[in-house]
Amino acid sequence: MDRILKLLSENSNLTYKEIATMLGEPEDYIEKQIKQYEKDGVIKGYQAVIDYDKVKGADATAYIELTVTPEKDTGFDSIAQEIMNFDEVESVYLMAGSYDLLVLVKGASVTDIAMFVAKKLSTIDAVVATSTRFKLKTYKESGIEFDSDNEEDDKRSIIL
């Protein structure tokens, strides 16, 4: 992966200057590259990685596997498009394997999500079958281990 993207994917708080220093490149070059990535849609946005298990009243999360019948001209794209329009839907992926679309859904409660699946997703004509899996706990996300906060987990002792 591009070294700029790698750094940003690990820590999007870095300034152009800091990235330039770390990579040994001129600052204006780094700035230009990042702006280009943003313009080209390579960089889609900058978000915090949040451990929702630690947030009171946070949403429930479910991964829903959908088996769908592809449309004649548009294949999976138009169905994916329809599904991603729902506010509840956070991510949609086309998968290889035993089902077609993987949909990440957030809702205020497990019941809310169940209702969303029953009333909104299952009723789409092209959807043949759904299989809903609720997330219980996050161990690692976006390369960050949630249980052992790296900084606090520094068990290195002082030797010499």
């Binding site: 690990e10 800091e18 770390m22 990579l23 040994g24 900084e151 290195r156 002082i158 010499l160």
Partner: protein, 390 residues
């Protein structure tokens, strides 16, 4: 009541405790200390290496190995050294697997030193050489290296320190704490002097894989006529993040290796078996891990050096290991005062340079074996500290 003071060996009592220790005892009492003081990689041992260790346990490889270490491991060490540093050794003649590089340093001192022999030790450097020389009845002779020489050993410094009693020169490069390295041209300048005075070299190459700016480490053993008077000491701790496995090695002429093995055999028996199996995997398939870790250290290195220079603490550009050694003389404080004040007012721990020898006075050692996020926070606090004192 037993008077333990009378019981304990006089030589051991005379050894000065590590200067770093004293400072850390204070830091460890404090809450929320953000440290840039640890001399150990922050990466975990790569998983495929850990897996081989686990697998060896599954297979029941829980006994001693031969005293010198597993034959396959010694052969792999030699093939690695040939591949990386262009020096040829034979696994069954020249290699001894030890409990960390530290044991190999201790064995070298005890094997080569006769009473009163002088050992030349460049400083600032890691704290173990002096006490180990003293314990072996040798006399440590400090060679003070300077920031203006990039903390290298120059021919002039070396010539000045040599006496008829000089027996060993310690070459601790890439250097902890300065990050200084000895390049081929630097080594070529001192090799003739070493040969002329019939001195041996203990080349501590534990940080050999961590060099930057495209400057590949050069072992002095590679130079014409040096292999026969050099003991190379290295290990797995720094290059593969394997500190806790306690595994190192020495590469030396056969008679020296045999003598060292004798002491190792009586004192240690054999290095940890599980670690030896994991190390074979590291040498066979670990090159990519080294590259990844080195690249990561390199980015942090650039960041740290730049920030210190911006703050007005002149920082010589380290080209090896994972330490920066900024000069704090502009603050008017001694190294210890600087570190103590910084610790008290900003809860940031760095190590006073004089812990690594008197010539380290006026400097502090900053380790960058921490995450970028951690480093940035510590640097921010150091900057505030400097601002407030202006």
């Amino acid at each position: 009541m037993i008077n333990y003071d009378e019981v304990i060996n006089e030589k051991i009592k005379a050894v000065k405790p590590s200067g770093i220790r004293k400072f850390f005892d204070i830091a460890s009492e404090m809450d929320n200390v953000i440290s840039l003081s640890i001399g150990e990689p922050d990466f975990k041992t790569p998983w495929h290496i850990r897996e081989e260790g686990i697998n060896s346990l599954r297979l029941g490889n829980t006994r001693y190995t031969s005293n010198k270490g597993l034959t396959e491991l010694r052969d792999e060490i030699c093939s690695y050294y040939r591949r990386r540093f262009n020096v040829s050794y034979k696994g069954n003649e020249n290699c001894l697997v030890t409990v960390g590089g530290s044991e190999a340093i201790d064995l070298t001192m005890r094997t080569l030193i006769n009473i009163g022999d002088q050992v030349l030790i460049p400083e600032p450097s890691f704290v173990c050489y002096n006490p180990l020389v003293e314990m072996a009845d040798g006399e440590p002779v400090v060679v003070e290296t300077r920031a203006e020489d990039k903390f290298k050993i120059t021919p002039e410094l070396l010539e000045k320190a040599i006496t008829p009693k000089s027996k060993i020169l310690v070459l601790p490069y890439p250097n902890n704490p300065t990050g200084g390295i000895m390049e081929r041209s630097d080594l070529e300048k001192i090799a003739p002097i070493i040969k002329k005075h019939n001195i041996f070299v203990l080349s501590d190459e534990i940080y050999a894989e961590l060099t930057y700016n495209g400057k590949q480490h050069v072992s002095i053993a590679e130079l014409e006529g040096m292999k026969e008077r050099t003991v190379v000491v290295s290990g797995f701790s720094k290059s593969y993040s394997m500190t806790g496995w306690r595994l190192g090695y020495s590469l030396a002429p056969k008679p020296i290796t045999d003598a060292m093995t004798k002491m190792h055999q009586f004192g240690i028996m054999s290095a940890p078996t599980t670690a030896q199996y994991a190390a074979i995997e590291a040498l066979k398939n670990g090159d990519k891990d080294i590259t990844a870790m080195r690249d990561e250290y390199d980015m942090r290195r650039r960041l740290v050096v730049e920030k210190f220079n911006e703050m007005g603490l002149t920082c010589f550009e380290p080209e090896g290991a994972f330490y920066a050694f900024p000069c704090i003389k502009s603050t008017g404080m001694s190294s210890e005062d600087f570190c103590m004040e910084l610790l008290k007012s900003k809860s940031v721990a760095v190590v006073p340079g004089n812990a690594f020898g008197e010539s380290g006075e006026g400097f502090v050692r900053v380790s960058y074996s921490f995450s970028v996020k951690h480093i940035m926070e510590a640097l921010k606090r150091i900057e505030e500290f400097l601002q407030e004192r202006k």
